[in-house]
Symmetry: C2
Subunit: 255 residues, 2 copies
DNA sequence: AAACATATTTAATCTAGTTTAAATCAACAG
DNA sequence: CTGTTGATTTAAACTAGATTAAATATGTTT
């Protein structure tokens, strides 16, 4: 648990403000509110656990750098990866209703996180309807992605599941500039990928090889390229949830 | 689409107020707010669709009577049931961020729903931080149940999945008095159940028969009895999410 | 009560993905 | 450059659950 307080954190370039400004214009009041909340950033090593099941959660986090996963472990030791987290994500809203964390959160590579107190959510609800709407919306987008995951786990073949999650990652990374020429860095092992879509590492290897042979993707040195997005989309019945988001109903910026 | 407006709906016994009062004390102001929002109730027949994918959502609903399911259909016609909805549920918050519905909503038996306009959420965010916290919390509980579903779909055997969903239903119905002596009415067919946990109806039949032979459950005339909750819980690694909910942080009732 | 439609059970066969294990490949420290 | 560690690939044997289909059971309508 070697969480190093990063003393170099610049208080003026807040992670939260940066993240949330991508979606809506923030008023000065909202920015001041967010600035108050944010603590100095923390670094985490590869495979370091940020919190575990039954940790009493003090903080939520904005991801400044690196990928993380939430996961659970079954009695027999098998693992199910529940959610992937990327730079720009707000992590922890799912656990707000609960006294303890409901899953484990682990860095899959070196990460920088910006914590802010869980209790801040209460302040936001009271002070800023507009920020409230935004945080609610982000949580609901995550939820719809979870429902898509349920769909592929319940009813799809190995190839389809893999195509689907590669597209999902592609969509999410595109939001924050992590994709160019349909190519992105994929820091997940085939174990991680398998645990996310309910397959063994062996099936992941076979499936990816197969997709590559069919010319749908190509891989090299931790990078993936989606060579035929149309066919991948059709194969896995993929829907980009980020494209349909409607923020027109948000309350006006507080004066 | 024979949605019958129920002219007998009593405006003074609001579904929303009744539902939300189960969790927190509502101030007079909050009650007035909710009363304004609610429309007259609607009835739906067995297997009638309330909304479909790509319906432009006008309303959210409180379930007054009957069970419903949200589901999606794959290209090949197979179905995945995403969520179960019971009397007392608020349906539709997942779709708030989106212009169109992301799934289909269908009554599995005759239902009575109380619609309120989707736009009301904006009013609630602006007027009542306390109601906001409640609605957010309910959505996050649903989300954690979705994550549990991902877990069982990704990594559990047929028997374990069935034990898990029977316990999940048990926990939820217990909240609103739908269980006595660990026995409850289960209006879902084995097709429905299978589509919820990623199995065929044949595997559901086999699995339930097996659980019954082992003395873990018993069935008769659309009722299920959980005869050994401890063993079912251990078998499926079940966690009752409703037990860990913490509402102590909610903003005070507005004055 | 008879007739029909719908659900459930049972059984035989088949297959996608698991399991296990060995071989190959890649990354990196010394 | 080499040895070590971890990740990926490949292959063979196995199995849980799918598929298909027929037999019962249950419920509803007339």
């Amino acid at each position: 648990m070697s969480k190093l307080d990063n003393k170099n954190a610049q208080p003026d370039s807040s992670c939260l403000i940066e993240k949330l400004s991508q979606f809506i214009d923030l008023s000065g009041v909202d920015k001041d509110l967010l600035a108050t909340l944010e603590k100095s950033s923390q670094q985490f090593d590869r495979h370091e656990q940020v919190w575990g099941v039954d940790t009493q959660l003090e903080n939520m986090y904005v991801v400044k750098q690196g990928w993380l996963i939430t996961y659970t472990i079954l009695q027999d030791g098998r693992r199910q990866v529940l959610e992937l987290h990327y730079p720009g994500d707000v992590i922890g809203s799912s656990d707000i209703p609960f006294r303890h964390a409901t899953s484990n959160l682990m860095a899959v590579e070196p990460c920088v996180l910006c914590p802010f107190p869980k209790s801040a959510i209460d302040v936001i609800f009271r002070e800023s309807p507009r920020l409230t709407a935004l945080i609610f919306t982000l949580a609901m987008i995550d939820k719809s992605i979870n429902l898509d995951r349920i769909r592929i786990l319940g009813r799809m073949s190995a190839r389809e599941r893999l195509a689907h999650i590669l597209l999902e990652i592609h969509s999410r990374l595109s939001l924050t500039g992590g994709v160019s020429e349909n190519q992105y860095r994929l820091p997940l092992s085939q174990f991680d990928l398998g645990d996310a879509v309910g397959l063994t590492n062996v099936s992941v290897s076979n499936g990816l090889t197969h997709l590559e042979e069919d010319g749908l993707i190509s891989r090299s040195k931790g990078m993936v390229e989606l060579k035929n997005i149309d066919r991948l989309t059709k194969l896995s019945d993929y829907i980009n949830r980020y494209h349909e988001v409607d923020i027109s109903w948000f309350p006006d910026a507080s004066t």
